[in-house]
Symmetry: C2
Subunit: 408 residues, 2 copies
């Protein structure tokens, strides 16, 4: 966390990954981010992974450093309060981030009616309003048809486990929020910003050249397993049952690989044999199976520790594969030894390392990561501070079931 | 594209995906983005996919709407020009974005020596300065060990084909650029922002709850093929050899699936048989194989067209898998029927649909997407406009091989 955006207030009506990540990114920049949920929690309140007691590690992960308000959003009075919080005055306030269908009073026209310069950022599935989520967008993207082992055959699609489209959408929302707020600060003009998750996918497919490949070349990127498309890169087994990714994108990386493995002469023979120039990426790609045959034998004769020793500081571009347990237990980058992480007490869950922003700002020092709130933890505080409600009014809202504080 | 950031100038020294995407995002917001490359092109100038003539569709995709300057960056005079462009005066100028090792004169201290309030955003591999790219960061992330068909056995890792970490890093850079520029506009203070690609990965693993899962529960997310973790979702084969992704995250989606397939009664029997509450995500996850057995038989008896007809407007969350050719040729979302795309003439390649920003801004209408520049297309223009060099001085720089215009 840092304090770069400490003068902004963002109201979030969200669930799952994209909008919560966008809001959390703002919160980790120091912005006041108020996530308003229905009483009992939103549709993502119990998302896996969960603890043995059913507390969501996912929800905690996606809502760090936010304030949580729980309101009866199924009732007009609850929605009125949400609208009032969203449109409260202040130069850095009046910014709303959502990926949920708009509730009455929380659409752009209604919000604008209460605050002329409101900024509403809204993520939808498809541009036509039909539903789409990371899983369906990914299915349409073309990527699952070229992911996974080619030996498995059958051409069955392989899904990403990482919700990559949601992550990209969340970060596009964060960027766009700051662009829209910059515009408002300069002109006084608010606006509605709408992103379709499907468009986030389509833009990436286009940016990476795959739309052009089909249109211009009449072909699609083939399925090549773990191979790197258009250059040399593949995974290899080690003598001790581990696997490593080895890559040669640049001429320097390629020469380092030949030098460190002692295979330079044999690799030159591959170039002659395959009649390609291995100093080019295209040449290495065309000869990749022959190159890999040599590298595979070299790796198979060495343990991961031996390969690490050989490659360390050599200029070879490589890395070992590890599973989540190995990552968390053995990789010092995934621990408080890395300033990205701080060990934090998460209410209802326990103490574990939580990441902040994956960037360092020289003019805004890193502050400790804050945990996620308990659901409704800040209901009373926000009603008092943002709306100026009295203790008596807040008590009435509790009595009538319109506002709820944290459990316990 | 739009014009929201038209008063910013960003100088990019970059290659491959992350920094080019960050810069292109700014360019598609209307910022002037000057990508400075070595003469002949950077290390990504020939990245696949390429045309039959070897022109990079990838490079064109990642550099749309930028200006291109080609300088002899291996010579002091070329680097001095790059430094002068990067630190030229102007309230929206003096912002540098890079993911390359800093050249002499282009590190933060040198840039700051020329312009006190310069903002330098720098993506590195690992925090300790060691190299890491999307492929090696992904290998370390844990995701490849839980991706792909469980039936294939052996626990071999499966790489993402999408460079998801690079995309996330590029968008974090875009967000951070605006946060740092906002700070500078308010305080006059520039800064250096450093992101490690490995930290981008680690933050995502933590945000999604997987670090907590290991620390708190002592377990890792299992490999479950294309199944959705913690709820119901899987891919199914149709009667005509296609595949569809079907998901039930919410109670409404779950009820819709039962209703539309006519399987509601049988699904209730699954709940009884498996002794779980199928109205909860956890219950559906635990009973997923039994649910899938019913849904698979239903899908296997229907063509994709029949499934589309049945699910359309029903509230079922689903989508067909398609490959890149099907996406580009058959999906109207991936065509100029979608305002995201415009058919653009890309010099040296041809006409094809190119995506703009995947967001609509009500206060800043969408403008036509611009193609990528030819390498060095704006060398002379930038030297004249930004540095105020005379035609004679520019001619000398060409004669001495310090500056180069576009080929031809």
């Amino acid at each position: 966390m840092n304090r770069l955006l400490a003068d902004l207030r963002i109201v979030e009506l969200s669930a799952f990954v994209a909008a919560p990540l966008g809001g959390m990114t703002m919160a980790q920049f120091g912005a006041e981010v108020i996530r308003i949920d229905p009483i009992g929690g939103g549709i993502d309140f119990n998302r896996w992974p969960v603890t043995q007691d059913g507390a969501s590690l996912y929800w905690a992960g996606m809502n760090k450093a936010k304030r949580s308000v729980a309101l009866a959003l199924d009732k007009p009075e609850g929605r009125d309060l949400a609208q009032a919080i969203a449109t409260a005055p202040g130069p850095g306030a009046g910014i709303v981030l959502t990926n949920l269908p708009p509730l009455p009073g929380l659409d752009y026209a209604s919000l604008k009616g209460k605050r002329e310069d409101v900024i509403l950022l809204r993520l939808i599935g498809n541009r036509d309003g039909s539903a789409a989520v990371d899983y369906t967008v990914n299915a349409a993207s073309g990527f699952p048809m070229v992911t996974g082992p080619t030996s498995a055959g059958g051409g069955a699609p392989v899904n990403n486990v990482l919700p990559a489209w949601d992550i990209a959408a969340g970060l596009y929302l964060a960027t766009s929020l700051l662009a829209a707020e910059r515009h408002r600060a300069r002109t006084g003009e608010g606006q509605e910003v709408v992103a379709a998750l499907a468009d986030v996918m389509l833009a990436a497919v286009g940016h990476l050249g795959y739309v052009g490949d089909v249109c211009v070349n009449g072909r699609a990127r083939p399925a090549i397993g773990n191979d790197l498309y258009g250059s040399f890169g593949r995974d290899f087994a080690t003598a001790d049952g581990r696997r490593v990714m080895i890559i040669a994108l640049t001429p320097r990386q390629w020469r380092a690989l030949g030098r460190v493995t002692g295979l330079a002469d044999k690799l030159a023979m591959v170039g002659e044999m395959m009649e390609v120039d291995l100093d080019t990426e295209t040449g290495r790609y065309e000869a990749r199976d022959a190159i890999a045959a040599l590298v595979a034998r070299w790796c198979a004769g060495k343990t991961l520790a031996e390969i690490t020793a050989a490659f360390s500081g050599s200029g070879v571009l490589w890395g070992p594969f590890q599973d989540f347990v190995e990552l968390v237990r053995n990789d010092p980058r995934c621990s408080p030894a890395n300033p990205l992480f701080a060990t934090v007490e998460q209410p209802g869950i326990g103490r574990y390392p939580m990441p902040g922003l994956p960037l360092e700002f020289s003019a805004s020092p890193r502050e400790p990561t804050h945990p996620a709130p308990r659901l409704g933890e800040h209901t009373d505080q926000v009603l008092a501070e943002v709306l100026g409600l009295s203790g008596r009014e807040i008590a009435r809202l509790h009595d009538t079931g319109i506002a709820v504080g944290p459990p316990g």
